[in-house]
């Protein structure tokens, strides 16, 4: 799919997730995106799913504690400076669930964009903010590289009889992982420059015409935005 058609779909999903009022519509949209995401190879999807699950669960936990709405208290906590009373009401839980669903839908849409879009085509065809697009594409590639490096660190340590266990053990790998990524990034930058990256006379890749599939995607994006604004 052309990057512009995929971008339209992504934008429509994000807008719909933010403006949809009915929880059922939101659940349906999140469900469809989740099903599509599950169709990508598990090895690539699992990190995105883990990130979405952790951030969504975190929001669901924090929301009722920081919001102050509702008249049906389920739990009354202490009063803290700045935050005020830490109580949880039924209404806060419901609002938290809605916001969590919104966050999860937006994150799922971005995960699908990252996993399903032909990033090469995006970088090669983009004429606007090409450097930024390239950085995003390289960052997307970085996730599996980081995963592989992390496994390499764990293996190297196990090879010396050091087991990496628990959050504390894994957090110790964060700084070496960043250092390793920076080393890789430097080599990549050097290699790109040696291959002419940054020359002003770069060729423009010819863009193909919109196919019927891409036209349908554009129409569906428009329909999703309009219907979520008016009815959903």
């Amino acid at each position: 799919m052309k990057p512009s058609a995929a971008l339209a779909l992504l934008g429509a999903c994000v807008v719909a997730a933010l403006v949809m009022a009915h929880p059922l519509s939101q659940t349906l949209l999140a469900g469809v995106l989740l099903v599509l995401l599950m169709q990508t190879p598990w090895r690539r999807a699992r990190l995105f799913l883990l990130g979405i699950a952790v951030s969504s669960f975190g929001l669901f936990l924090i929301w009722p504690l920081t919001a102050h709405v509702g008249s049906h208290p389920l739990w009354n906590g202490p009063i803290l400076p700045v935050l005020g009373s830490l109580d949880v009401t039924r209404e806060e839980l419901a609002a938290g669930a809605v916001q969590t669903l919104r966050l999860a839908t937006v994150a799922l849409a971005f995960a699908l964009w990252a996993l399903r879009l032909d990033q090469d085509r995006l970088v090669r065809e983009t004429r606007l903010a090409r450097r930024s697009v390239l950085i995003v594409a390289l960052a997307t590639r970085l996730i599996p590289t980081l995963e592989r490096d992390a496994a390499g660190f764990v293996e190297a340590l196990r090879g010396r009889g050091v087991e990496v266990e628990g959050l504390r053990g894994r957090s110790r790998l964060l700084a070496p992982l960043v250092a390793s990524s920076l080393e890789r990034a430097l080599t990549l930058a050097e290699s790109m420059e040696a291959r002419g990256y940054g020359r002003p006379d770069r060729a423009r890749v010819a863009r193909a015409r919109f196919s019927w599939r891409e036209r349908t995607a554009l129409a569906f994006s428009l329909l999703l935005i309009v219907s979520s604004l008016l009815w959903l």
């Binding site: 340590l157 090879g159 080599t187 420059e193 040696a194 002419g196």
Partner: protein, 471 residues
Amino acid sequence: MAVTGYPRPALAPGESISARIGCIERLAFSYPGSEAEALVDVSLELERGEVALVLGRSGSGKSTLLRSLAGLVPHFHGGRFSGSVTVAGLDTRRTAPAALAGTVATLFQDPEDQIVFDRVASEVSFGPENLGLQPGEVARRVASSLAAVGAEHLFDRSTRDLSGGELQRICLASALALEPQLLLLDEPTSQLDPEGAAAFLNLVGALARERGMAIVLSEQRPALPLEICDRVLFLEQGRLLLDTPRAQAIEWLEENAPAFVEPPKAASKQDGEPGEVVCELEGIGYAYQSGVPVLENVSLELCRGEIVALAGPNGCGKTTLAKLACGLLEAQEGRALCHGRSGYLSQDPGRYVVCERAEDEVALGIAGDLPRARSWLTELGLAGSERRHPRDLSSGERERLGLAAVLATEPDLLVLDEPTRGVDPERKRELGEMLRAGSEGRATLLVSHDLAFARSVADRVVALEGVRADA
């Protein structure tokens, strides 16, 4: 790999195939923050159609010399630069590396770190597109450079799914797609098996001859490149000690740096029977997530006091078997038993350092015993580096640090995965002697593409072929 479909560069009227393509005059260079000079008063000329082999110990300035010809030194790295480097009439000090891209192409050591795109076709077309070529010309160059390295069949493949050898070929195709007059190859065969390395180097020789491009090649396994090169350069501590045709170079190397030309001498092997069995692998089968079996019905015994080398082509399962032997992987079929403690030195150990001081890195596996860690650093020639950050060490020093960290645990089974990758011949000899000296108290399994090294140090060599052991 056949050399096909790639036109010779157009020569100007009256220009001969031996015309000078590069010239370095009195080049001196120091990296930022470093007192030591990486290159000292280096002068040389390069001609079209020749293959120049750069030899030298680790840290002697080989990679810096190549980077200076590509303009990456000083533009990308900064530092103090004096003298001049001219490539095809362009002064690299006044011409940015990107502007040199149509003239010079560089292939770096690790192919994984050079990949920008997901698809092979996009990766190879990246350079030509940066040059501003028309889409038709880009497509022609992509097709011809892939054909030149025998990788047309990989055109639509994802770069994520390629083996190390395939990636290396794609990186070479990406460099060739720039149709350079000067091709710089920095240890291009370090990850290839002997057959792959020979095919790669034969291709390089053919490219130089048929297309008239100059090729500068640095290598740590010099036997094969010495057969195809026209000329040898030898660097020591940044100084160019030798710049001479191949025949004279071999004589000079025999006299002054014999480790670079002589096959490693076989270290004194163990006499008599080996000790008790330390590791038993019986009927081992293993497949990764793809489900394709990597190992089927492999059996191997490792005894105390013996060194066993595991050889075989890229992707035959050597590393998998090594990890199974030391318990990093669990066998899906068969039985893997290790009696005692095992230690595993991974490929590229210098990348996987986690502490901020070298001594802490070694002490990590021995319950923080710093005196013992320091003695192992001294043993590995790293005395004086105890408090340095591991990432400030040179690549060779980092490899040795990784080895020290594993040896310090005094394992009953020591598994070394490609320990000679990027290691110069003299260091290899030292490593071989060290492994033999300490071999009595343990069983050692050595995974290596470097057959000469493996034969010199091991009591027996086990060949893995495809998915079946041929032990």
